[in-house]
């Protein structure tokens, strides 16, 4: 019995010793990490900050700045952010378009434009719930640009971690402009932001001017097919719905409330669209003729004006469904589909 007790005591002591050892070791490793970790960015930073400093001088924008987020709340940034993470592909594109790409350290795995995004740390993103807070914190961001309601919960979590968050919606052309303005101010590129907005307005007006001589009172009836089964379209309140209107078309489902509703095939056949537009997915067919051939085989579709006349168009999904600076490309392609005669040399 006594031996057993002694054994246990020794074991216990050994365990304690091991634990303490572990503790010190861990502490040691943390210390070494900070030793290695903090100075490293510091040694990298000067180059970046020099460039940024040039920027700041050129822009004569001084920090701290206060920016309004999508809810009208003030977000204050003490100094120009140099480690930005963007959680929306459209915001990523805006950041790069503003010239703030070099201040970025991370984006989502869906951010595929411009090519420089490949050099950034990609945070896996299927939906807001799958974003790892730890992965965000590890990048030591000094600004995270998020979507509005979509990231509401995540933004609240980041705020408790004292990481500056700029939440901006991305659902319409007006949202794009607000995002350009807000992100421009927050990153020290407010003049570029204003320039970008002016250019966007110009380009949209340009497309509209180009189609104007060819517009008749009867607008082309457009069906935008988001998905096949269930049959889903883009409603008038969606970004794509807005683009259809801007491109001089009329949504055949102008009377639906949700942004991307499931709609009735009966109604579609009766409303008989003149033009059908589909997003071009990576896995999908790349040739519109192939799509027309398949649509023709569906009951009731072969009688549709758009299918009969072969007015089915594929538009790369990234430019038509991503409310970012490239919206004009999407708009142009859409306008081209609706008014081919206005674009004689495509």
């Amino acid at each position: 019995m006594k031996h057993q007790f002694e054994l246990k005591l020794i074991l216990l002591l050994l365990m304690l010793a091991w634990l303490v050892g572990c503790g010190t070791q861990e502490a040691g490793s943390v210390a070494s990490q900070t030793e290695q970790g903090v100075p490293a960015p510091a040694s990298e930073l000067p180059a970046a900050s020099e460039e940024a400093a040039v920027d700041v001088v050129a822009e004569t924008q001084s920090f701290p700045v206060t920016v309004k987020d999508y809810q009208g709340r003030d977000v204050t940034l003490a100094k120009q952010p140099r480690r930005i993470i963007s959680l929306l592909p459209s915001h990523t594109e805006t950041l790069f378009a503003l010239g703030a790409g070099e201040q970025m350290v991370g984006c989502t795995s869906l951010c595929n434009y411009p090519q420089e995004t490949e050099e950034l740390k990609q945070i896996a993103l299927a939906n807001p719930g799958s974003i790892s807070l730890e992965a965000l914190v590890e990048l030591q961001p000094d600004l995270i640009v998020t979507g509005g309601d979509y990231h509401r919960q995540l933004a609240a979590q980041l705020e408790t971690l004292k990481i500056p968050v700029l939440a901006l919606e991305s659902q319409s052309v007006a949202d794009i402009e607000k995002a350009m303005l807000g992100i421009g101010q927050a990153t020290g590129h407010s003049r570029q932001g204003q320039k970008l907005i002016a250019r966007l307005k110009d380009e949209i007006a340009g497309v509209q001017k180009q189609i104007k001589p060819f517009q008749k009172e009867e607008r082309p009836q457009v069906f935008y097919r988001v998905w096949d089964q269930p049959l889903m379209t883009a409603g008038p309140h969606s970004f794509i719905g807005e683009l259809i209107t801007l491109a001089g078309g009329e949504n055949v489902f102008a009377d639906v409330e949700p942004a991307y509703p499931q709609v009735s095939e009966e109604t579609l056949i009766l409303r008989n669209p003149d033009v059908i537009v589909l997003p071009r997915m990576k896995a999908g067919p790349s040739d519109a003729r192939e799509v027309v051939e398949k649509l023709r085989q569906r009951p009731g579709w072969s009688d549709m004006a758009a299918v009969k006349e072969g007015r089915v168009y594929l538009i790369e999904d990234d430019v038509i469904s991503r409310p970012g600076p490239r919206v004009v490309q999407g708009l142009q392609k859409l306008a081209q589909a609706l008014y081919p005669e206005a674009f004689p040399h495509p």
Binding site: P230, P258, E266
Partner: protein
């Protein structure tokens, strides 16, 4: 009719026929597109009613109504059979994993075919989605049977083991489907819609595939209604009356599973119906399977046709998943029957 049934019992099923007929008429009359009765009559009799109306009637609306009736009947028959064979009032067509297996199969098909969804159900094409859902259902049910037969418990209480194995595998496949949904955010809507059941975009093609399977397996179950009566008294009684209960039970389970898989593969997961329709019929017609099975089939078909009509029309031109409607509509009706008539027969 079976000699054991009182002769007048056959007449008690007449109102069920009347109900179904009425539901079919309602289903054909109402839709997202308003068709007048004369237009329907002209369309059905082949008199010229306009090509569009004829297309809508023959290619879109009729197949949907007929398919809803087939699936409703199939799910109700399978439900009655499962409840009888398991002697468990909570058993439904999905109890041994048929639905979750089908959901997994369909989800995987959607994942692999995402680009070519256009062709999933066009006539004359290989219906991959249906085949995948069917294959998934059979695979999971097969696995449930293998697991149940491996289990030692299986010898003492095979039915309980089947249910438990079914539930376990259902949870597992459910988790897999959730994972796929989580990782493929852009497909969330489609998969979700499929999990709630829908007849959107279904044509004669689906009826040609699932109809015969439902008819044959349902008919087989009706022919087995006498053994089902005996089995519902318990194994010992059935055996003492000379029934080879093991083989018969396996036959019934196989037929009911086949029936369920056929239904789920064309409609998605439509809950509630297979559970409630047999109970409603039992309250109205009594527990004998000779009458219960055709009665359930008629009532199930009626309920699903009405549910689908509502799904198509309530917020037209937007559609809602039919599974939502069956649950919202059927549950109050079921509770009403339970309270008003329940005491006599339950």
């Amino acid at each position: 009719m079976r000699p054991t049934q009182p002769r007048f019992a056959v007449w008690r099923i007449l109102p069920f026929w009347g109900g179904l007929l009425l539901a079919l008429l309602v289903g054909i009359h109402f839709g997202a597109v308003k068709l007048s009765l004369s237009e329907i009559w002209q369309g059905l009799t082949g008199a010229a009613a306009g090509a569009q109306i004829e297309t809508i009637l023959w290619q879109i609306r009729l197949p949907r109504v007929v398919l809803a009736a087939c699936v409703g009947a199939g799910l109700a028959i399978a439900g009655a059979a499962f409840q009888g064979v398991f002697r468990n009032p909570l058993a439904d067509p999905f109890v041994i994993g048929a639905s979750s297996g089908a959901a997994l199969g369909a989800t995987l098909a959607l994942l692999c075919l995402a680009g070519s969804v256009t062709v999933i159900t066009s006539t004359g094409q290989v219906p991959w989605l249906i085949l995948a859902a069917f294959g998934g259902a059979m695979l999971i049910v097969g696995a449930v049977f293998v697991i149940a037969s491996l289990s030692k418990l299986g010898r003492s209480a095979p039915l309980l083991t089947l249910i438990l194995a079914g539930m376990a595998l259902s949870s597992f496949t459910g988790a897999l489907v959730s994972l796929i949904m989580f990782l493929n955010h852009e497909m969330l809507n489609t998969i979700f819609n499929w999990l709630l059941g829908s007849f959107s975009g279904r044509h004669w093609n689906e009826i040609a595939i699932a109809g015969p399977v439902i008819l044959v397996s349902g008919g087989l179950l009706w022919m087995l209604s006498r053994p089902l009566d005996l089995l519902s008294f318990g194994d010992e009684t059935a055996m003492s009356l000379g029934l080879p209960s093991g083989k018969v039970r396996l036959l019934i389970l196989a037929a009911a599973t086949l029936c369920t898989a056929a239904c789920v593969s064309v409609s998605g997961v439509i809950g509630f119906l297979g559970l409630m329709a047999p109970h409603m019929t039992r309250i109205l017609l009594g527990p004998r399977h000779g009458l219960l099975i055709p009665g359930s089939a008629l009532l199930g078909a009626t309920l699903l046709v009405i549910a689908d009509t509502l799904a198509r029309t309530v917020i037209a031109p937007t559609e809602i998943p039919v599974g939502v409607v069956t649950a919202l509509m059927g549950c109050p009706f079921f509770l009403f029957l339970l309270i008003s008539r329940g005491r006599q027969t339950m």
